[in-house]
Amino acid sequence: MNKKNYINHLSGQLTAGQIDRRQFMMSALATGLAVPAALTLAGQAVAAAPKRGGLFRFGVAHGSTTDTLDSATSENHFTLINGYTFGNHLTEVDNNGQLIGELAESYESDDAKTWIFNLRKGVEFHNGKSFSSEDVLASYGHHMGEDSTSAAKGLLTAVKSIKADGNHRVIFDLESANADFPFIVSDYHISIRPAGDMTSGIGTGGYIVQSFEPGVKSVLKRNPNYWKEGRAHFDEVELISIIDPTARQNALMTGEIDAMDRVDLKTINLFKRDPNINIMDVTGTAHYTFPMRLNVDPFGNYDLRMALKLAVNRQELVDKILLGYGAVGNDHPISTANRYHNSDMPQREIDIDKAAHHYKKSGHSGKIPLSASDAAFAGAVDAAQLIANSASKAGMEIEVVREPSDGYWSNVWNNDAKGWCACYWGGRPTEDWMFSAAYTDDTKWNDTNWKTTDGAKKFNRLVKEARAELNEAKRREIYYECQRLISDDGGAMVPLFNSYVSANSKSVAMGEVAANWDSDGAKCVERWWFA
């Protein structure tokens, strides 16, 4: 389980000149890494030898005056990045999408039901308190219980109990097996804070919060005692909330900031021309969906759903809504960045004849309302219109209904009043997490209400099965089938996976970039350095 860590460690040594290239290769290959991969890693490490120092200013497209340092209500990308900068979690997703231990040195389970996390020793919080299992218990308690208002509450409902076994070992007892539980604990809400102080921004992370002005900026200083090696290179960090894309891009072009997220796709071709700027795009797990609710007429009808899915010109959407910065979806939420992406399944293309055939078979007639708002994702209304446009060729009449942005998530999405709407999913690092967030019959966010069809029943059974399954190959097989079921029978139309497009000044250097979140897995501050 610790292979990755070990390689990181080696890379660090190589970079620092403690070992030479040959030693690195030898050791890396010994872990079972393939030769080319090891070569790449070595190349990266040398070419981009991280340097310590400098003030890193990062322009974040989010931020609100209601932001806090409490990870429980972390709602946007600003608090997400900020949280990762000063705090650690039990596990983390590394820049290759692999799960590695963070504050947990290692973790294990025999039945996927009882999970044991062995905690790292010698780690100190910013306030000097040394990290131990009581902090884990307190931190998890913050997100659980009836009174908790944490956004992670739903994630942890399966946790029956948490026990400390000595100072550096914690045992989680789950209601039911979940092979992906270690992934869940990497969720950005579940930051580990010192017992008794969940909200003031004390963590174990690479940077210490100096000042935090909600909706404005967060100023951090390097943690001199940071336990992680080869991380946290900058001396000082300023995270600045710049919501207006033009202002953000201007700030980067005029050197007011060193990096930024969410490049405005509309102007990206011009933006690229700035010689001092690197544009970076990563296909992640985030996707745009158009969930159809099976319990609302007429979407209970399989043929109608299929007709609509076949009538979408996915490539056009990628080209126009994402200006090419994204990938077509196959009507299921699993991205190529996920471990078990079903690459065997053929890509669904627009097929007007087939769509018309299914539509005819469905027996439906009349307008089909499609609710959209740019609150769902940028360009949602445009996308809905493009869908309406292509569907009309198959004889289907889609009526695009523009909904108010404010309250969209409460009043439109996942609401029986609207049968079909636009939606955005940030993606989840694991298949199970994604499925159980939005597709299983026990989640409240099952926005398609795909619960009762035979396909759905089978799907739910398979997901449970996979959770308890620790064998990789078997899990892969199961998840492939799950993806097929959603794609075929499910209510979700998933035409697009959007890329994370960010930009940085050429003075900033980095290794391979993670795909699980925007901005190098939202950990750019910890991972990047000044060239």
């Binding site: 005056t65 009836e146 033009t246 202002a247 309250g407 409460s410």
Partner: protein, 326 residues
């Protein structure tokens, strides 16, 4: 002087009533908005349980009327309450005092407003006077056209153009005005230059046109003809004879624009990432953080009322008829 004191007291009394009305309107408006703080904060991740927990903790499960009365009772004693954000059942209550949240931003807003006023008011007066002096000349027409053009551009667009010219093409000023409490005054002025210039362009036209109109309006008065016939020059006529009688309308317009600088600059704040009070209120509205919205609304209303009061007082002081009644 008695009449001034009376006017001030009368206006302050009315002002308090206005504040009440404003708070009721704002409170009901936010109540009418769909969703509440929990739903807004949690967004897509909201579950009925967490939302309910939020409602319990924030007291949102009480009747709106009860909450309003509680708020008013607090406000009367100078307690504007605490922001919803940061409150939590588990762990320490780190909710922020509304006053503490507003104060630094109010200071920023006031700083920007004052800086803009320091630039804009003299410019508008000077332009208003000179255009009145050289009315219908090429100078007058070009100033008029130029100022009309600047007010017909949306604020954010003026800001972008200034950024392009003065931060991007010819880097004179920074494009971000991200100041904080520790920023030194010199640095602060430098960082705030572009937003102040943007706002200057936005408000100069109005103030200048009104100054010009107020002066020209008076030029038809018999006492202006009298002044001319007593040998006063054009400049003297405008400065000494027209301007003293034009202060009341000019002060009203300036007060109106200054109030705008305090309450209406959220767009400029967004573009320049300036931590002002407008952005705070918009965010608070979006997240349904009622105490903060109420606090901001009160600040805005107080600003508006006070500025208008000052304008009225200037109107009285500069008018001997009101200052020295028979």
């Amino acid at each position: 002087m008695h009449s001034i004191v009376k006017t001030i007291l009368e206006r302050l009394g009315l002002g308090v009533l206005t504040l009440f009305a404003v708070s009721i309107i704002i409170f009901s408006a936010i109540e009418m908005l769909p969703g509440d703080f929990g739903e807004a904060i949690l967004g897509q991740r909201a579950t009925p349980e967490t939302v309910a927990a939020f409602r319990r903790q924030l007291g949102l499960d009480q009747h709106p009327f009860v909450r309003y009365i509680q708020w008013v009772l607090g406000a009367i004693q100078g307690d504007l309450g605490t922001s919803f954000s940061g409150r939590n059942a588990s762990g320490v209550d780190r909710s922020r005092e509304v006053v503490g949240l507003i104060a630094p931003r109010l200071w920023n807003t006031m700083f920007l407003a004052s800086m803009t006023a320091i630039i804009a008011v003299p410019i508008s007066l000077a332009l208003g006077i000179t255009t009145a002096l050289f009315r219908n000349s090429v100078f007058d027409r070009s100033v008029n056209t130029a100022t009309l053009t600047t007010i017909s551009f949306p604020e954010f667009f003026v800001a972008y153009i200034l950024i392009l010219l003065m931060a991007s093409l010819y880097p004179v000023f920074p494009s971000l005005a991200n100041v904080d409490a520790d920023t030194l005054i010199g640095e602060r002025v430098y960082r705030t230059a572009l937003p102040a210039l943007t706002l200057t362009l936005v408000i100069v036209a109005h103030m200048m046109r009104m100054t010009r109109a107020a002066i020209i309006n008076l030029l038809a008065s018999p006492y202006i003809q009298m002044a001319r016939l007593s040998g006063a020059s054009q400049l003297e006529i405008i400065i000494k004879h027209a301007l003293p009688n034009a202060w009341a309308p000019i002060a009203t317009v300036i007060a109106f624009n200054l109030a705008y600088l305090v309450v209406g600059v959220v767009v400029v704040e967004v573009v320049f990432v300036y931590p002002g009070i407008g952005q705070l209120m918009v965010d608070a509205v979006r997240t349904r953080d009622i105490p903060v919205v109420q606090g901001c609304a009160l600040i805005f209303a107080v600003t508006y009322i006070l500025l208008n009061l000052i304008a009225d007082i200037i109107g009285i002081i500069t008018n001997p008829r009101l200052l020295h009644p028979k």
